[in-house]
Amino acid sequence: MLIQLLTHQYPGMRLWLSQRLTAVVMAIYILLLVVLLLIVQPFGHTTWQQNYAAWIEFVSPVWFRLATLLFSMSLFMHAWLGVADVLKDYVFNKVLRGYMQLAVDIALVLYLFWLVYILWNV
């Protein structure tokens, strides 16, 4: 398993590989989501109430919420790695870079809580 290789033994490869692996997770989710949307079609009903009910039914299963959570965690990790790369490239003041990184970290963690709140409140 490639996940096994994400150890401190490979500090450079770990970051690079994580970004690729999270991208794969996201790609699979997006593909499945599009296919599911086309099959189930939780839209296009005559009234908005019907559309809403169909949509709720579509997003309600626990496996769908968990898959969406997994996708979002991959997205946040992917974004974290990407932003860390950009900061490494462009911000050379280590203290400033640290604060900017911290701001990104806090935002991403808040997003995660927010997402869990949304997913389990529909």
Partner: protein
Amino acid sequence: MAKQMKFSVYRYNPDVDKKPYMQDYDIALEDEDQMLLDALIRIKQHDDTLSLRKSCREGVCGSDSMNINGKNGLACITKLSELEQPVVLRPMPGLPVIRDLVVDMTQFFEHYNSVKPYLINDDPLPETERLQSPADRAKLDGMYECILCGACTTSCPSFWWNPDKFVGPAGLMQANRFIMDSRDQATEERLENLEDPYRLYRCHNIMNCVEVCPKKLNPNAAIANIKDLKIERAKENADRKPAKKIFGISVG
């Protein structure tokens, strides 16, 4: 029949000039002036204070690499007929300017040296040469042709931002050239040598290197190959380790 051509050339002599400036030349070219280097030599006949490097004048030595109309290349194999006027000539970006079009390539060669660009083989020397099958030899094609002109590395933003840490496309392609060499015995060390987050992994595949290479080589493919090999090696290392056990069940 003389033909006029306009040039705008970066000039900087640190002993005299406070700041670099662009100098315009309107030069009458002769029929034999076919390449950009010919025109530069013609300019030098009028203004011998202009400094540039040149040697073989046929795209083999890699001395006269410079930024031509915004793109790195070799003056000696760039056709004048294909250039838009005024031809804007600058030194290669990302390296300190010594004077005019001459840059200090120390950093570039330090990175080149850091990948140990020579065969490492501890076996006793054979009487003749170390033999290689045609198939193994073919693995070096597209890499050994590099003339180290520096056009790729100095057009790479990752090198501009981290010149001291990122090895750059030219150095990494030579790393791959020796990793792929069947006669070399230091593959493991070579891959380990590129492990930190900067030396290899600052490459974000924007492919400026492929775009500018005057020898039409592909450093990006070489870099991708190193990344693949590093994963393969890490997988082998993980397989060799005894499986971790939690409560007697092997995991990973």
